[in-house]
Symmetry: C2
Subunit: 112 residues, 2 copies
DNA sequence: CATATTCATCGTAAAATTACGATGAATAAT
DNA sequence: ATTATTCATCGTAATTTTACGATGAATATG
């Protein structure tokens, strides 16, 4: 029995990509950082630390995760660093997530 | 110095809500489950296990997390359970996440 | 040059997440 | 009634995440 077994051994690229973006957004501190970057309408740096209930090193780690996910970029500007939304990458991210959202929103569910 | 200290001791409700939704989506298995629920256009149950590279108990745990986040619902149907997208809750979730996305997309960043 | 500021990184500890097998409860089938 | 199927939960181990202080590199300021 069980001839047509189709247990996948991996996930699709898309699934992994979306999960990674979601992971980058899965902590309130990182959402707060993104909001700060927009609200201040300027590339703040250590100011982020002042606005969050976290130490400098912890904030730095969150910034690394946002950078790794490609959601923000940080340019060195003298002694300080200028962080801001990476518009181009952000759009790519949102396009991928939006695709999933749209599918789930528009597909008519007819059960339960 | 530092008179106007405004280090927040907490995050906003919105930040926490968005982070929670993102956390629910932060694992490829859970993205795959959502896609399966849509693709099959029917409330599958243990079939999910056959399609994923995970054990039954692990899949069950992922389903719990999706349920806790309010993204899916599961109705008991005899011996099996019928899972499907919770349309109403899903729309609420997407509205909240979409709000953040829109803000970050439309706000003109003028730095870096 | 000496000192201060800004930020990243290292080491470490605590907590959360992920995954599995084993077990059990509930319903269905024989 | 017995047996099989479906799913949740428990216990546990391995890994990842979160957070902090300490330290260090780089630039700016005195």
């Amino acid at each position: 029995m069980n001839m047509g077994t189709s247990k996948t051994s991996e996930y699709t690229e898309k699934e992994i990509a979306i999960a990674n973006y979601a992971k980058a957004l899965s902590h309130p501190a990182r959402i707060a950082i993104l909001n700060l970057l927009v609200k201040k309408q300027a590339c703040i740096c250590g100011d982020i630390v002042d606005e969050l209930p976290l130490s400098q090193s912890t904030v730095s780690q969150h910034l690394v995760k946002l950078k790794e996910a490609g959601l923000i970029k940080g340019d060195i500007d003298g002694a300080s660093v200028c962080y801001c939304i990476d518009e181009k990458e952000w759009k790519k991210a949102m396009a991928q997530m939006g695709e999933l959202f749209q599918t789930l929103l528009t597909t008519k569910v007819k059960c339960c």
